[in-house]
């Protein structure tokens, strides 16, 4: 297997387009060879997950590129950072950590990127289009772009996304290629009530199971009784990209490459067919909760980042009410989406309820939670999945309504009526 490079690729590799491009192309070529790629292809957009500050190695990588004069050559959005520049001092973020995270933000901003600072770039004006070749990091964004939009990105890790953005190239592998976008396993929904399918907590639960069952194979969902909205599909994908390595799913009659079962599987037979029953979902819902208590210190919403439609859904639930004084209520979103919510009047309602807002980052990427916050509750599978390992916190999963009711009550309460049968 040999990788064939075009003339411009070779120029970039030899350093004719600057040292940052040379370093990026050198990493790109080594990875393309490891991946058995035959060639590189042009991309027309990128999303950079490397913005998340983990430690000084990632910072040294960013500053090395920046100091070598790195510039992106395609429209490039930025994922969440480690720091809410406006509100970080209201939280437990250590000052020296904030300084390092901020240096990393500046390094990536200096490369000519668009500072969207969000893990939901598909809900900005930079949303890609069907069939567009892109190089995206951030697992939830990758699965949304491939599945719901039909744009094409491989499941790219941090540090690689920026190499693609600088060179405008990506290896011709994986989900960039039509033949690798076929479904491999079938998830057949059996007797799932429509009322539950309308509910927002159905999607994280189904997604959590889907990730566990599919791992890195493309799942195809059959048997939906309704057409889910964008935020429900976002929750489904994000959950499956946390519990598994799902980079794309199909939903028959809903997602753009799955008009029919045959098109979703590209004429192949499923490797495996799994029936999804209420029992399956009960088990999955149980797994999303990791707590030994009804105690509640904080409700956290917005992974992936809250959209305008989600603010619109939340506002009437909290309108005219007050959260319990012992419970914090946090919504994480992008600064742009927050401005839209403000203009729509939703933020005033949330503030009156006692909610707080964090922009540009979230509880998973910024060490913001004070030690006294031990018991969390969320409607987001991604928070539920990562909170125990990443934050050492106990967490309960519930619907948006459950989260609001619990914040008012001061302890975990969940409406079980949709989950009864």
């Amino acid at each position: 297997m040999t990788l064939s490079l075009n003339e411009k690729d070779r120029e970039m590799l030899h350093g004719d387009h600057g040292l940052a491009t040379k370093m990026s192309m050198s990493i790109l070529v080594r990875m393309a060879e490891i991946s058995d790629a035959k060639e590189l292809l042009d991309i027309s957009g990128a999303h950079i997950d490397s913005t998340v500050y983990i430690g000084d190695a990632g910072l040294e990588f960013a500053e090395r590129l920046a100091s070598l004069g790195a510039r992106v050559t395609v429209p490039t959005t930025l994922n969440v950072s480690g720091l809410d520049e406006y509100h970080w001092q209201e939280w437990a973020v250590p000052t020296d950590w904030a300084r390092q995270a901020h240096r990393q933000m500046i390094a990536y901003q200096s490369m000519g990127t668009i500072p969207t600072w969000t893990c939901a770039p598909y809900q900005t004006e930079m949303k890609p289009s069907f069939g567009q070749q892109i190089a995206w990091g951030e697992s939830n964004a990758i699965v949304f772009a491939n599945s719901v939009i039909g744009a094409r990105t491989e499941r790219y890790p941090d540090l690689f996304d920026i190499c693609c953005a600088i060179t405008g190239r990506a290896p011709a592998i994986g989900l960039h290629l039509t033949e690798n976008r076929a479904g491999r396993i079938l998830l057949h929904l059996r007797d799932i009530p429509k009322a539950l399918q309308h509910s927002d907590d159905f999607y994280p639960v189904l997604g959590h199971f889907m990730g566990r069952a599919a791992l890195d194979r493309i799942p195809v969902i059959k048997g939906m009784g309704i057409t889910p909205n964008e935020d429900q599909l976002k929750a489904l994908g994000a959950a499956s990209a946390s519990s598994g390595a799902v980079a794309m799913f199909h939903m028959i009659g809903v997602t753009p490459e799955a008009q029919t079962l045959e098109s979703a599987f590209q004429g192949n037979q499923p490797e495996e067919t799994i029936s999804v029953t209420m029992d399956t979902l009960h088990e999955s819902r149980r797994e999303l909760t990791r707590t030994d208590s009804e105690a509640l210190d904080m409700v956290v919403l917005g992974s992936p980042h809250f959209s305008l439609a989600e603010f619109r859904q939340l506002a009437p639930l909290v309108h005219g009410k007050q959260k319990h004084p012992n419970v914090r209520f946090l919504v994480t979103s992008s600064r742009a989406m927050t401005q839209l919510a403000k203009q729509a009047g939703f933020l005033d309602v949330l503030q009156a309820f006692g909610a707080q807002l964090t922009v540009d980052t979230c509880i998973l990427t910024s060490p913001m939670l004070p030690p006294e916050v031990k018991y969390l509750m969320t409607n987001a599978a991604k928070f539920a999945y990562y909170a125990p390992g990443l934050l050492g916190r106990q967490i309960t999963f519930g619907s948006l309504k459950d989260c609001v009711a619990s914040a008012i009550e001061g302890k975990v309460v969940r409406d079980e009526s949709l989950w009864k049968n």
Binding site: I27, M31, I54, L390
Partner: protein, 155 residues
């Protein structure tokens, strides 16, 4: 002491040795590996609580978050990474961390892919040596090398 030799496909070449940490469950390093200590911290993972530093980690591939690469890179810089990682397919996330560690610190972590039947023969606490051609030598005392099929399938 029993001995087993497996020929793997090295996708980042290099030699390494250490005790094995083995699981059939994929692992996200983000939220699953504490780069400051090398502890596996995914509380849903069978290896939770064990330390990967200095070991030969054997897992099928990286699960979940695209930040796994960044966490492994931090671990390499901090000296808390496994000595090598064995997977069942070429893992892009681990490979990239190793390539960037080579670029920044000249310190790549060897990575070897092996077949699933070979993978099924590995056990935690095996003594493993990997050479720069991807040859994996496994030594195990007091135990049978080939464990029962049923145990493998149950995992």
């Amino acid at each position: 002491m029993e001995k087993l030799v497996i020929q793997g496909r090295p996708f980042i070449t290099g030699s390494a040795s250490g005790l094995a940490l083995v699981s059939r469950e994929p692992l996200s390093f983000w939220g699953g590996y504490d780069w400051k200590t090398g502890e596996i911290t995914d509380r849903r993972h069978p290896l939770s609580g064990l330390v990967g530093k200095g070991k030969i980690l054997a897992i099928p591939f990286a699960r979940g978050s695209s930040t796994t690469t960044a966490v492994l890179l931090e671990a390499i810089r901090a000296g808390t990474a496994p000595n090598a990682i064995i997977t069942t397919s070429t893992d892009f996330f681990f490979a990239l961390a190793s390539v960037v560690a080579d670029e920044l610190y000249s310190a790549p972590v060897p990575l070897v892919a092996i077949s699933e039947p070979d993978f099924a023969q590995l056990r935690t606490n095996d003594e493993i040596e990997i050479d720069d051609k991807g040859k994996i030598t496994v030594r195990r005392s007091q135990q049978r090398i080939i464990a029962t099929e049923t145990t493998n399938r149950r995992e």
